[in-house]
């Protein structure tokens, strides 16, 4: 599966990060601006408040001056006519300021003259109000009304020119870093600060400063004081102003930004720095989150892909399981029949053919098993079933399996088995054997010439546990170093080009490795490309009995490599069993496999039939097929359990359904054991030995009877040839592998099936269903031939050909009619031959049944 292509995650993260940094940066600039504006605003307010209090100070100085005048007025009230004296006193007290009294019409009455019209606020004094007024070129005037009862009779005033005012009302002393000026509402400087020079004048004339003062003026319309931040020729400054109430004077000035900010400036810096730090932190956190998110997305994608592939894998496993079942059923028949050929035929050429079939079949079966195992392992359904077994038997099986292969390739196969190994072990023999065979098979497969060495050793022992070490060393093609890792993967086959003609599924090592995992074992590999490989398998097994295995190597090499003539492991002539299967061939196979055990075998082809039989009599054991129409094996078992004859009878399941877990399921249903198809004769016999009553079993083959079939066959051949009519016994026996019993069974079936078959043929003929007719005649042709009915076979063949012509696409209408006519005119004759053959067979059977 290809992984969906993503954009480079780094680029994505970088882009996201960049976008974030830009966004944060903009935010930061805005924030900085805001903070700075806010700070200045706060300081402006602060300065304004301070200015207001300075204005109060200035005002109080003015009040003080007015108070002096009021006191003088009181003096006048008590001392009428002392005006000149008082005026002189007032003038002296303040360094030569002008003092005088005005009449209510503004003309001087006493003291110094005063250009009264220059002071716009002065007339208010006549109405009874205190006046502080500044006139350009004149100076700062203080005036109070002189009262006479409810009336005002004059105005007492004192005037300070510019210089005198500066000296008397300088406010600068209160704040060293602030510069204060007193100006009139129209902007004339009344009292400048000390050292006020051209530069200061220029500063206040500066457009930015003037503009700021415009704003301050506006602000003063509705506030006691105002301040404004600006950048001028004197640097960053706050300009401020406050009107003095009831005068035309305004206190203005400026103060450097630093003087106001002071510690705040440091707080400002601190805020900026911590803000920057915070932004950095956010940025870093974001990067982290981006990365995490990218990973999460990736793992999401992977998970989805995995889900997808899991589903696909499950479908695949199901398909494989299904397919393997479908394939196993026919292989069962092939191998079963072949086994019988091997047992009963002596002619070497036929045996050789049968052995080839056997090898090919087993090879096919092993592939199927591989696939099945793999699907089981993949779906986690494969289990390890531990039972007691003999290591020697395992090794014998292995060697029996590998030796012929090695021989066939002309390889030397050396076996070295540690004599001290314990023989009786507990473990899953089948799986260990499978693993070892897998490795050895590979070694043989990939070794073109040279030798294969097989070592079985004791890796280590822990109390009752032994770590068996199987080492397989070959002089084969070896494995490249870069390929060694791939070796244990599914379907992986190395050097595809080179190894194209080597058979196999490519699953072998994957299964081996997975099986070893399940059993707690390990597999390791050392290989030099072109020189050979060494596989080492280590499997822990439990020791049941500490008796050593002995010199097995020798024993095995003594054994004949040639296929042994089958010898049954036991006989049980008194035992009787029932075999139930809906497939005739399977019944034949079982009967054939157990023939030499002399067990009495009854067969039936369905669940209900089986129940009928059991109602009549009991059996020592019942072999029951699983998948049968109408009533399957499990249901049959459940019904049979209620019958008195079958209460204690062991039922053994025969099934092609080899998917994982099936065994457990069957045992749970009440089956005593389980034999999977294709039936392994050894396993079948072993199972029977285990479940048949012990008193009915006799060990070893029945010596005196082994040769009987052959003898009987030849006798029959000689004695009854002339009496058999159309039936050629010799040919029939030949077709049935020389087994007379088998032949008889086949004959019996032939006879039994005849009426039905004939009826069906007639039906097809009447219906002009040529296709089915031809098929049935084809079957008749074959079966007649198998039992030795050449005449009938030939006649059937003619009809089959004619039948085929009737529905052949390339046949003309004339040809078809001619063929149909041929069939109609010859059908009865053929049927007569069929009848005769059946009668002859029956006759022969009746004659030979007794013998």
């Amino acid at each position: 599966m290809t992984v969906k292509k993503h954009h480079d995650p780094f680029l994505k993260i970088a882009a996201e990060f960049l976008a974030l940094v830009i966004a944060l940066g903009i935010c930061a600039i805005f924030m900085q601006h805001k903070i700075s504006a806010l700070l200045n605003m706060t300081m402006e307010q602060n300065v304004a408040r301070q200015t207001a209090s300075m204005a109060v100070l200035a005002e109080s100085q003015f009040r003080q001056e007015l108070m002096v005048l009021h006191n003088s007025m009181k003096f006048l009230e008590t001392h009428p006519g002392a005006e000149d004296e008082m005026i002189a006193g007032l003038a002296q007290a303040r360094g030569g300021a002008a003092v005088g009294i005005l009449a209510v019409d503004g003309t001087p009455a006493y003291g110094a003259p005063l250009p009264a019209s220059k002071f716009r606020r002065l007339p208010h004094a006549v109405l009874g109000h205190d006046v502080v007024d500044y006139a350009e070129g004149q100076g700062l005037l203080f005036a109070i009304p002189l009262r006479s009862g409810d009336n005002v009779r004059g105005v007492l005033w004192r005037l300070y020119n510019g210089e005198q005012a500066v000296q008397l009302f300088n406010l600068a002393e209160y704040h060293a870093d602030r510069k204060f000026l007193l100006v009139s509402h129209d902007g004339q400087v009344i009292i400048p600060y000390r050292n006020y020079d051209e530069e200061d004048e220029a500063f206040f004339a500066d457009p930015s400063v003037t503009a700021a003062y415009e704003k301050i003026r506006d602000g003063l319309a509705s506030a006691p004081a105002a301040a404004f931040y600006t950048e001028s020729r004197k640097g960053r400054v706050f300009l401020f102003g406050a009107d003095l109430p009831e005068t035309n004077c305004t206190l203005i000035g400026f103060v450097p930004w630093e003087a106001v900010a002071g510690g705040i400036a440091r707080i400002y810096t601190l805020v900026l720095r911590s803000g920057a730090l915070l932004l950095l932190l956010i940025a870093l956190t974001s990067v982290y989150l981006f990365i995490v998110q990218a990973k999460a997305e990736e793992s999401d994608a992977l998970r989805r892909e995995k889900e997808f592939s899991d589903r696909a894998s499950q479908a695949k496993s199901a398909f494989l399981a299904n397919m393997s079942h479908e394939i196993r059923t026919p292989i069962n028949a092939i191998l079963g029949m072949n086994e019988m050929i091997l047992r009963e035929v002596e002619r070497p050429s036929i045996r050789e053919y049968a052995q080839s079939i056997s090898r090919a079949g087993e090879s096919l079966l092993s592939i199927i098993n591989d696939i099945l195992d793999f699907s089981k392992i993949e779906s986690g359904k494969l289990e390890i079933f531990e039972s007691e077994y003999q290591l020697s038997r395992l090794l014998k099986n292995v060697v029996a399996m590998i030796q012929p292969k090695a021989d066939a390739k002309g390889l030397e196969f050396h076996i070295h088995i540690d004599e001290d190994l314990p023989d009786a072990l507990l473990g899953d023999m089948m799986r260990v054997q499978q693993v070892v065979i897998n490795i050895l098979t590979n070694a043989v497969k990939y070794t073109p010439d040279g030798e294969v060495n097989f070592f079985v050793m004791n890796e280590k022992r822990e109390e009752n546990r032994i770590y068996l070490s199987f080492v397989v060393n070959d002089t084969g093609i070896g494995i490249k170093e870069e390929d060694q890792k791939k070796l244990f993967r599914d379907f992986e086959r190395l050097d595809q080009e080179k190894n194209r003609n080597i058979e196999g599924t490519g699953l072998g090592l994957a299964i081996t490795s997975m099986l070893l995992d399940l059993m707690g074992g390990t597999i390791s590999l050392k290989s030099i490309y072109g020189e050979g490989s060494t596989f080492t398998i280590i499997v822990p097994q439990t020791i049941m009995e500490d008796s050593p295995i002995g010199n097995l190597t020798e024993r095995m090499s003594e054994a004949s490599v040639h296929a042994e003539q089958y010898v049954p492991s036991f006989t049980a002539p008194d035992a009787s069993i029932l075999v139930v299967d809906d497939n005739e061939m399977n019944l034949l196979v079982v009967k054939g496999l157990l023939k030499q055990t002399k067990i009495h075998i009854d067969t039936c082809m369905s669940g209900p039939e089986c129940l009928e039989r059991l109602a009549e009599r009991g059996y020592d054991l019942i072999l029951l097929d699983h998948m049968m129409p109408n009533m399957d094996g499990v249901e049959t078992l459940h019904r049979a359990e209620n019958l008195p004859n079958a209460k204690d009878t062991p039922f053994i399941m025969l099934t092609a359904n080899a998917i994982s877990g099936a065994k457990d399921a069957f045992l749970k249903e009440g089956f005593a054991a389980y034999i999977s198809k294709p039936i392994d004769s050894v396993l079948l016999e072993a199972t029977l030995v285990k479940y048949l009553p012990t008193d009915k079993i006799r060990p070893g083959p029945a010596d005196e009877e082994t040769t009987e079939p052959t003898a009987a066959g030849s006798e029959a051949d000689d004695a009854e040839k002339q009496d058999t009519g159309d039936l050629d016994i010799e040919q029939g026996m030949k077709y049935n592998g020389g087994m007379e019993d088998m032949y008889k069974v086949v004959l019996g079936m032939f006879i039994k099936l005849r009426p039905d078959k004939q009826k069906q043929m007639k039906e097809h003929l009447d219906a002009e269903d040529w296709k089915n007719y031809a098929t049935m005649l084809h079957a008749l042709k074959s079966t007649s031939m198998t039992i030795g009915g050449q005449k009938c076979s030939d006649a059937a063949k003619e009809l089959e050909l004619a039948g085929k012509k009737c529905f052949a696409e390339d046949a003309t209408e004339d040809e078809k009619q001619e063929a149909a006519w041929f069939i109609r005119s010859h059908h009865e004759r053929t049927m007569a031959l069929y009848d005769k053959l059946a009668q002859d067979a029956e006759r022969w059977l009746n004659k030979n049944d007794g013998s």
Partner: protein, 371 residues
């Protein structure tokens, strides 16, 4: 952390994203909305008035004035109208305005300050102002428009204009304010025309159309007045004058479209209120007890002067107006009262304080219509 994040289901991640979005939005809102933190709250000014703010004349002109001033200065205006005098309603109005956060309250009826004395004292944090004389409480200031300056000019105009030398004056009832207006008018008329007579007809009510009309008839027919002015809250007098075909000088109402209208004595209430509000905003409103707002602040005008008065009279009045800003006060001596008592001596000027509350006399030359 990483594992935790990966275990968060898709909807959870969306929720997280949403929350982060909200958080970011909140932060941005906080940053950009920081101006909301400005502690400069909007000032609120309360305004209590006797009549309805949409009643033409006194009520409407005051309301329009303070409204305009508030708008100019960016101050919120809270109004309590139809607040009757002598019922304690003004105290209730003050309390409700205080509850609403008014920083300054203007009491816009002559009787309010005395009636609300206790309540005003109970709110020392609120600055009070009124156009009427105020009790001796620190947080209330009387702000007097020098309406009498307008009266003075109107008097001069009437003195110059009269043919019969009799000028009628319809007046509600005597009080310091009424008297100073009347006296200023008389001084203006007499200084312009020493032969003039000012005949006053009292109505005894601030609004009494019938009585005012009656007074006008009396002044014209019995006294022979050919110019009438008045101090009433309504417009019954000009209406009556128009009916009779008599020239009149209106007060606080612009009646330039009346054929017999000579001039209007007006107070620019917007300037008056702006002056007061500025003093309040600058924190100096209550710094002095009495505040005068007059012709030099631009608050008082003799407006809509009819072209019929002629150039000479026009120049004369303009000259008087200019003099008022200099050393030519209205109440300069010598001034005698109706009984011949010298109230202001030569070379003296009547003090503003005396104008305020102690004016219980009438300038020589003022007559009263017999009843």
């Amino acid at each position: 952390m990483k594992k935790w994040f990966q275990e968060v289901p898709t909807w959870g991640r969306w929720t997280l994203a949403l929350l982060s979005g909200l958080l970011v939005f909140g932060m941005l809102a906080m940053v950009f909305g920081f101006d909301a933190g400005d502690d400069r709250r909007t000032e609120k000014v309360g305004f209590i008035i006797l009549g309805g703010i949409d009643e033409p004349g006194w009520n409407e002109s005051h309301y329009e004035g303070i409204k305009s001033a508030c708008e100019t200065l960016g101050v919120a205006l809270l109004v309590r109208e139809h607040v009757a005098e002598g019922t304690g309603a003004v105290n209730e109005a003050i309390r409700s305005l205080a509850d609403e956060g008014a920083g300054m309250i203007f009491l816009c009826s002559y009787g309010y300050p005395e009636e609300a004395r206790e309540t005003v004292a109970a709110y020392p944090g609120i600055a009070f102002a009124t156009h009427a004389p105020s009790p001796d409480v620190p947080n209330i200031t009387s702000c007097f428009p020098r309406m009498f300056q307008g009266r003075y000019l109107a008097g001069a105009l009437a003195g110059l204009r009269t043919k019969t030398n009799v000028i009628g004056y319809v007046a509600a009832m005597p009080n310091a304010q009424m008297n100073r207006n009347l006296n200023a008018f008389a001084l203006g008329a007499l200084r312009a025309n020493p032969n003039a007579r000012i005949v006053v007809a009292w109505t005894g009510a601030w609004e009494d159309a019938e009585k005012e009309k009656e007074n006008v008839l009396q002044l014209v027919h019995r006294s022979g007045a050919d110019i009438i002015t008045y101090q009433q809250d309504d417009q019954a007098v000009p209406d009556a004058c128009e009916t009779l075909g008599i020239d009149f000088i209106s007060v606080n109402t612009r009646l330039a479209n009346y054929p017999h209208h000579l001039a209007s004595i007006t107070c620019r209430w917007d300037i008056y209120y702006r002056h007061i509000l500025q003093r309040y905003l600058k924190g100096e409103l209550n710094a002095i007890r009495n505040r005068w707002i007059g012709i030099d602040e631009g608050a008082i005008h003799l407006a809509d002067v009819s072209e019929r008065i002629g150039l000479d009279a026009g120049y004369a009045v303009a000259g008087l107006r200019r003099d008022l800003e200099g050393f030519h006060p209205i109440f300069r001596g010598p001034i005698r009262d109706t009984r011949g008592l010298l109230r202001v001596g030569a070379g003296e000027v009547l003090h503003d304080d005396a104008l305020l509350s102690r004016m219980d006399w009438y300038v020589e030359g003022v007559e009263f219509l017999d009843r």
